[in-house]
């Protein structure tokens, strides 16, 4: 896969969004695709953080939820248009992520997953309990970007956001920051000794990926139109992790593959009830972790080394 | 003199393209102290690790008493009577010295009477740790910690004690303290010792026999007194040879 291909991928997504919006999909299929964009943004940015920067955070769904609730607040209380929130919330959540990073990235190693896990838990309790602000489990309702149930706009928007994600990802991985992140992932001490400002790079990675999570959350809020604390659960985080891990952590298109696989499974087993879906998906992810540690992409690339030599970043 | 340890053509390689030991032969007489010296990168430490079973042996034989041990894993070699005191700190810092010693007899821990006897023996052997048996090992000086490790290595009543640079990183005062105790250990004639050392003078002073390694192979060997006599030439030789391209 050449650099050119990497740059074509965003266009592909935008084109797909446009094309699908014209076909007139069944709502259930459109839903599946649009919410897949939400998951792609989350799994993709989590992959940037964990797979490329080596920082394993469990706050990602929490940050997306913050983005969604922030969107609702701006729209309901602030009277802003949903479109504005799609720009504002990524910035706001990046700041939130930066604050969290200041606490969590001070110590290296297992502390980051633990602190971010704690953040997610505390934030979930807050969302449910601070009902005067968040309306508790009654949830918040906000108007959609377009009134009614027409999904064609969201398909286009989804295509654009997915494309945008890949542009940001290309910019990061092919740019300076991406290289510094990966150097820190591979050996923090040596990177430090070479002159890399470790903390700054980590915070930057944390903030950019938080911004993408915030964008995902804002997109979700503007699309679904109802928010509840149940949006933030460790089960959801499990989904996102599973998507990144199944596809291949540390690979550009790993999360995309993971999202496609998991969302397809979800689509085909959806009649079975939530527990079945979860058993199947976490079961598969577990098997991948144990037997194909680097995910589907790495496995395929080992089977076909020549064709896939350049898949790795 | 009967040989407690016999090494024949020992080869060790960490990676396939870099062979650190390229066929070393060595004999260690029962209850004697054999010192192994040589320039940096000669493969001295690697030799001990190969014998202890913590470095990958790719060829050769190791006989301990009548037993071939090169195929055993590290834990099995402990059982067979090999005791390794590595260069890095291996003391249990938050346990007392006594508890450290107790763990030295791990493979025969069920035999309480034997264990108590060995602990008493090893505690007695090293005068400079004897007053500190109840102290936390981590609170002792670097030299004393090293002595605790050596004493711990003896509790299990090994047939072979491998000491890897016991004074590396210690101050001269501590070096002398450690060697005073190693000398006492040798006088006790209770165990066969292979000692790798950079402090050649100290090593020669306590050794019965000395092997010189260079570039992963035998260079020369002889009784300690004889090697001491040729020492100036040997060392001058190293200074022109040092850095043979091998890691130590």
């Amino acid at each position: 896969m050449t650099k050119l291909t990497h740059h074509l991928v965003p266009l592909l997504f935008v084109a797909a969004g446009l094309g699908l919006s014209l076909i007139g999909l069944r709502p259930v299929v459109a839903d599946l695709l649009i919410l897949s964009v939400y998951y792609l943004l989350l799994a993709g940015s989590w992959n940037l953080l964990a797979g490329f920067a080596g920082q394993y955070s469990f706050a990602h769904i929490g940050l997306a939820t913050a983005g969604a609730y922030g969107t609702a607040a701006l729209v309901i209380a602030g009277g802003l248009s949903g479109w504005a929130t799609l720009v504002i919330m990524p910035l706001a959540v990046a700041l939130l992520g930066g604050g969290l990073g200041l606490v969590a990235l001070r110590v290296r190693g297992v502390q980051l997953p633990l602190i971010t896990f704690a953040f997610a838990g505390a934030f979930a309790v807050f969302l449910a309990a601070a009902s005067d602000i968040t309306n508790g489990s009654m949830g918040l309702q906000l108007p959609k970007l377009v009134p009614g149930f027409d999904r064609s706009l969201y398909l286009v928007l989804g295509g654009i956001l997915a494309g945008l994600f890949f542009i940001v990802q290309n910019w990061m991985i092919d740019g300076k920051l991406g290289l510094l992140m990966q150097a820190i992932r591979d050996n923090e001490d040596i990177a430090h000794g070479m002159g890399v400002g470790i903390f700054r790079v980590k915070i930057a990675a944390f903030m950019i990926t938080a911004a993408i999570a915030g964008l995902a959350g804002s997109f979700y809020a503007n699309y679904v139109g109802v928010l509840a604390p149940s949006m933030l659960s460790m089960g959801e985080m499990g989904y996102v992790v599973a998507m990144a891990v199944i596809g291949g952590l540390g690979y550009r298109y790993g999360p995309l593959i993971g999202v496609v696989i998991i969302r397809s499974i979800e689509y085909f087993v959806r009649g079975f009830g939530a527990e079945y879906t979860l058993v199947i998906i976490t079961g598969i992810a577990l098997l991948v972790v144990l037997f194909f540690r680097e995910g589907v992409i790495a496995y395929v690339s080992r089977l076909m080394p020549r064709q896939t030599a350049r898949w790795r970043s | 003199m009967s040989e407690a340890i016999t090494i024949k053509g020992l080869r060790v390689a960490y990676e396939s393209d870099i062979e650190i030991l390229r066929g070393v032969d060595m004999l260690g007489g029962a209850n004697t102290l054999t010192a192994i010296i040589g320039p940096n990168g000669a493969g001295k430490s690697t030799l001990l690790k190969g014998v202890a079973g913590v470095a990958p042996v790719t060829g050769g034989e190791i006989h301990l008493g009548g037993q071939r041990i090169e195929a055993l894993n590290a834990a099995q070699r402990v059982g067979a009577g090999v005791s390794f005191v590595p260069q890095e700190a291996s003391v249990f810092g938050q346990m007392t010295v006594l508890e450290n010693l107790r763990l030295g007899g791990w493979h025969r821990r069920k035999d309480k009477a034997w264990l108590e006897r060995r602990i008493a023996f090893c505690g007695d052997l090293f005068h400079s740790i004897k007053p500190h048996l109840e102290r936390r090992a981590g609170d002792l000086s670097g030299g004393q910690q090293k002595l605790v490790e050596i004493a711990r290595g003896l509790v299990g009543e090994p047939r072979l004690l491998l000491l890897d640079e016991p004074t590396a990183g210690l101050s001269p005062v501590m070096v002398r303290e450690v060697y005073r105790e190693i000398a006492r250990l040798k006088e006790s004639r209770s165990v066969t010792v292979l000692l790798v050392e950079q402090n050649v003078r100290e090593a020669l002073a306590v050794a019965d026999h000395v092997y010189v390694l260079a570039m992963g192979q035998n260079d020369t060997d002889g009784p300690a007194a004889e090697i001491a006599g040729r020492l100036d030439g040997i060392v001058r030789n190293w200074m022109s040879r040092e850095g043979s391209g091998m890691a130590s």
């Binding site: 069944r26 709502p27 839903d31 449910a128 149930f149 109802v226 949006m231 939530a274 527990e275 | -």
Partner: protein
């Protein structure tokens, strides 16, 4: 096998859901023109109140079976399209939309949580499809006056208002409302604070707690320390039982009034034990209720099918289904839009009396049936059920 019954019903559930899934996956023609499809969106798995969801599903299955056995509605067979809302608002809303767009449901029933119902109302409005609420108590559901939304069942402000005379008559001066942090708990607490203004000498304190909590001991210690005369517990989760058990454990002496029919659920006495003695529960159900012929048919069939009596909310659900049936019969069509037009005017014999909607625009009594009585019943010994419980007071 840990739980045979649970297992079997789950398998049945699975089978029916798979069937629904297959139908959905297939083309629209699976829903033949002569079939009427009704959407059932209920909490069937965690974190939703799956306990109640299961009861809802049983009632709905039974109703469909009876109707189809009797030749359907106007000769047309009825099908149920079942969706799980998992107690989540966003899932409930999208499930509702799927029920409408994929399954072509004529009306949506079975909704449980007020939070979910409030989100679904927007979908109902958008697609102009009737949404039938039966035990979601938020005033807003009918107070918003959406033409598509109907409720045969009680609502918070009415319930709260009916509780005030009880509180006054019992001489309670200090009342704590222990409310879970959901629409159900807090919605009631708010309504009660409002209603109790009619009794100026009664002070009310609302104590909020996490709905999914497993330990209320600390909360109950605080409640006990404030020495109230009565504690009104408003929760559907395990806290119903926990609050009683742990309240007594930490020395709570006050009367406990715990909503609604939960003390009649099978796990009440096994979890609460001695602490349950003296508990008062308000209910809409009492042997003195005048069960109609329709109601008897339901109760008998339910007992025959599942081996135990239905709870009162299942009666309301039954009436909801019959309301849809009445509207289809009256309009001669299963078009959702037609039903929205027809439903406000239907009258029929419900399970406990005639059912008709009040249609007072601008108030909560819009598309709302409210002819139910409230009974306060006391459990005097371990193991007391509905029949043994002492009727303390009736509010109408």
């Amino acid at each position: 096998m840990i739980n045979n019954i649970g297992k079997i019903s789950r398998r049945a559930l699975l089978a029916s859901m798979t069937a629904a899934g297959l139908l959905l996956a297939g083309s629209g023609s699976a829903y033949a023109a002569e079939d009427i499809t009704l959407g059932l969106v209920s909490p069937l798995s965690e974190p939703g109140d799956a306990r109640s969801g299961d009861a809802i599903k049983k009632t709905a299955d039974l109703w469909v079976k009876l109707i189809n056995g009797a030749g359907g509605i106007g000769g047309r067979q009825v099908k149920l399209a079942v969706f799980d809302d998992q107690g989540k608002v966003e899932v409930g809303a999208s499930a509702m939309e799927r029920a409408i767009t994929e399954a072509n449901a004529s009306a949506i029933l079975g909704i449980w949580s007020s939070s979910v119902a409030l989100a679904q109302m927007e979908v109902a409005k958008g697609y102009n499809v009737p949404l039938m609420a039966f035990y979601s108590w938020s005033d807003d559901i009918t107070a918003k006056n959406y033409p598509q939304v109907f409720r045969i069942g009680p609502y918070n402000s009415q319930i709260a208002a009916q509780m005030v005379p009880f509180v006054k008559d019992r001489g309670y001066k200090k009342v704590v409302v222990l409310a879970e942090d959901t629409a159900y708990g807090l919605g009631f607490a708010k309504a009660f604070e409002e209603a109790v203004k009619a009794a100026p000498d009664v002070t009310v304190e609302v104590v909020q707690f996490q709905a999914q909590t497993q330990d209320l001991t600390a909360v109950m210690s605080k409640v006990a320390a404030s020495k109230p005369d009565a504690v009104i517990v408003q929760t559907v989760f395990s806290a119903t039982n926990l609050s009683i058990k742990q309240g007594r454990e930490v020395g709570l002496k006050a009367d406990i009034i715990t909503g609604w029919d939960w003390p009649l659920l099978p796990d009440f006495w096994s979890t609460v034990g001695e602490a349950g003695v003296g508990v008062v529960y308000p209910t809409f159900s009492d042997p003195s209720l005048n069960i109609t012929a329709t109601g008897k048919t339901f109760v008998d069939a339910y007992k025959a099918a599942y081996g135990h009596e239905p709870a009162i909310f299942q009666y309301y659900l039954w009436d909801n289904f019959n309301a849809v049936k009445a509207a289809i019969e009256k309009s001669g069509s299963s078009e959702p839009a037609k039903l929205v037009e027809t439903l406000p005017g239907v009258t029929f014999e419900g399970t406990i009396g005639p059912v008709f909607f009040r249609n007072e625009a601008g108030t909560v009594n819009f598309h709302q049936w409210d002819k139910f009585a409230m009974f306060f019943k006391k459990l005097n010994k371990v193991g007391d059920g509905e029949k043994e419980a002492e009727l303390v007071q009736v509010a109408k």
